[in-house]
Subunit: 458 residues, 2 copies
């Protein structure tokens, strides 16, 4: 048992999760007299907007991650713990991690979200999603392995249809994955095979709604569709996935063979949301008060993808990095004000009155591929190369750690001009469910499934 | 069934293994009219001399690997297959891969070596070795996880001894690992923890012989010992490991607690050597003829770490990259001469008389840490910064792929001046055998063990 909640001692803040929200809260709080403990079950912060680049072999995991410890190491009042939070005791002001109880004065829960398979959790092993580095490596492994196994079959004289890759869900992640996969097939891999032609690979993007990028204005949505089709992606809208088997995906009566199926269709909040014991929405997000605290607990805050909050117009705030960052900073400010009040008054005062969190949307950007993107800044809508440049600039600028930024920029400049993908590495299992395997005596796909199960993550 | 061995058609060469030997043979043969098939069970070539940098979080896997396919893609007569070779039929001139039979006119077996645990294979899960990218990631995971778990214990108020890391075997790999680990503890991690002091970490290097770097001249061996001790490594010579348990290593009566145990003590040739059906030495290396062919089969060659060949003075050629590279080129030359003879004569001729392979030793280099190394070029022996510069130059020069070279150089320049380690990423299992775990409900260390078993490799 640690910590101390008398007001003479330092105010203890526990932050669960070191994503964009948690890190920004920690950075802002570090300048106060608070003692901060950041708990995460990974040792690294992941720059999620570039995860698709790891999944498509463009960047290495080390280039879009940074150890949480080293990001925060210059703040002597910040402590980082690698641990998995298992629950809370809000009455005793305690966070539980299985073997430890960590006490707090203020608590920020920023545990993020994972994939949702809409009641079909058995699809996860067959159609991995993209939330963590482990997910990205699993996708990379499957995509590269599919080409290798197809080459082997063709070399042995088996006649095969061209490879088919299916991406389910045409939100930003699905669009990025489909666009980048199409590019890899046409360019990076074009000259590397002798018995198959990677350029003939089919890429299907399946969307349940009527449009790709459904959250974007219609003109940008249409532009994204055109850019995808120019890259060779076959887009199927208004189609619901009803069944996934090894190597096969079904939409109602339509069955489609697929070497690789990727899931970018649904998001579910971290199960930690439910453990706070307050109401959550259907996706498991915590229904927070306008100041991001939870009902009845003014010192417990939920931010980022785990929080459900509507803006002034009644629209749900999207699960994107800018929202999480601003929420983290807002909550840090509230807690700092509280610490100052505590210091001024001898007895513990009532929480100060708070202005509600307000999100000012500066715009949104979605990339589709090389020099292809859409962007919206208020009423300004742009597409294509200019939007892509804006996307590139913003993402390199916000990538954590100067060194990473330089390296990522060099990598991108290099692959822009050479079409090369630098991180085409297959590691781990060499089994592709429903498709084949490399070794003769490998133990099924149990390892891939285990990897997937440990990869269930914020 | 593929290929064709009549002399009108292209001469078919099968190369098993795309390490230094196999790749160099392929590159040289590619300029002939031969049809070449390179088979490897990994999709990437690994630059093994820098593996220890991945294991110690200095470089990312993508930076010291390159897809075999893309290294060879500009040679249209070279085919690459991701497959695991299971055996040979030398009479029918066939390589077996489980589900395929691939015929050859000339065969080069360059399947390399793995770790040897001297009859204690059960030690492998407790003391991983360093031969593949998977091995390196496993070592990185264990080292970083040890610090995280120690921090957690100390945070919870448990009193603990400083961490102890043990490296078994003081050949070049063991010396590199021990030296670099010592540096990381003193520098890269020094300011990142609050409850433990990484600088107090103990590093033990255990060697069965009387000296570190036993293959080097005595003065360099002594210099290496001094450089190691300056870095804080505790060297124990003439000590044999008799037992390894989770978290404990024993040398006779001496028991030592160890959070991480690394194995750099023994090398065993690939089991494919034995499958050729010709005599092998105790380490499983094939006793080749002076032209690197195997007895009775002038068109079957074994090169690299899998071959046992003595130089003119009767000393066994070492298992290092320069030997493998020169052997690969030598064998390629023999096969090209044979192809020319085949073309000149209508009937299949006898193999031409061959000059024996001769290895001219240009020198050897071993690095110990930052600005610490030893080098021998003939009678010139150098130590310290100059030797380290020579090592750096040679290794960056030979790193495959221009892009990788530039990136690695930038990384190194950066970490030389900042002491930072860029790839401090824990992925996969969060269990450390005999030491602890992160998650409360994780399924034992079965995943770590599975990883280790799939990592048994060339």
């Amino acid at each position: 048992m640690n910590g101390n909640s008398t007001h003479q001692a330092a105010h203890r803040v526990v932050i669960v999760g070191a994503g964009f929200g948690g890190l920004n809260a920690a950075e802002r709080l570090a300048r106060s007299s608070a003692r901060i403990t950041v708990i995460d079950r990974k040792n690294h912060h992941t720059f999620q907007p570039l995860l698709y680049q790891v999944a498509t072999a463009g960047l290495s995991p080390g280039e879009i991650t940074a150890p949480i410890r080293s990001i925060l190491s210059h703040h002597k009042n910040v402590e980082v713990l690698l641990a998995e939070v298992t629950g809370f005791d809000l009455e005793r002001r305690i966070v539980k991690t299985g073997d430890q109880e960590i006490s707090y004065d203020s608590l920020i829960v920023a545990a993020g979200a994972s994939h949702a398979y809409f009641g079909h959790d058995e699809w996860e092993a067959l159609a991995p999603g993209l939330k963590t580095i482990e997910d990205a490596l699993e996708i990379r492994r499957r995509v590269l392995l599919a080409f290798e196994l197809a080459e082997r079959r063709a070399f042995a004289g088996e006649s095969c249809d061209p490879l088919n890759f299916v991406v389910v869900g045409a939100g930003p992640t699905g669009v990025e994955l489909a666009g980048t996969l199409a590019e890899i097939c046409r360019h990076a891999l074009a000259h590397d095979f002798r018995s198959i032609d990677p350029a003939r690979t089919r890429i299907h993007l399946i969307e349940g709604g009527q449009h790709v990028l459904p959250a974007y204005p219609e003109d940008l949505s249409r532009s994204a569709l055109e850019q995808l089709q120019r890259l060779g992606v076959e887009v199927i809208t208004s189609a619901l996935v009803t069944r996934i088997e090894p190597g096969v995906i079904c939409m109602g009566e339509t069955r489609m063979d697929a070497a690789v199926i990727l899931w970018a269709a649904g998001v579910a909040a971290s199960p930690l949301g439910k453990k706070l014991g307050v109401p959550v929405d259907r996706a498991g997000r915590v229904l927070v008060d306008p100041d991001l605290s939870i009902p009845g607990h003014p010192k417990v805050f939920v931010i980022g993808d785990l929080a459900a909050l509507k803006d002034a117009s009644g629209k749900m705030l999207p699960g994107v990095a800018p929202v999480a960052i601003l929420e983290g900073r807002y909550v840090a400010k509230l807690i700092r004000r509280q610490i100052e009040l505590n210091r001024a008054s001898a007895s513990e005062p009532e929480p100060a009155s708070r202005t509600a969190f307000h999100y000012y949307d500066k715009g949104s950007l979605a990339t589709i591929g090389r020099a292809a993107a859409v962007a919206q800044f208020g009423k300004i809508h742009i597409s294509g190369f200019l939007a892509w440049l804006a996307w590139l600039f913003v993402h390199i600028l916000f990538l954590i750690g100067f060194r990473n930024r330089v390296l990522v920029f060099i990598q991108w400049a290099w692959s822009y001009f050479t079409y090369e993908r630098s991180a085409r590495l297959i590691t781990g299992s060499t089994v592709l469910p429903g498709w084949g395997r490399v070794g003769p005596g490998e133990p099924g796909n149990s390892e891939a499934e285990q990897e997937m199960s440990t990869a269930m993550d914020k």
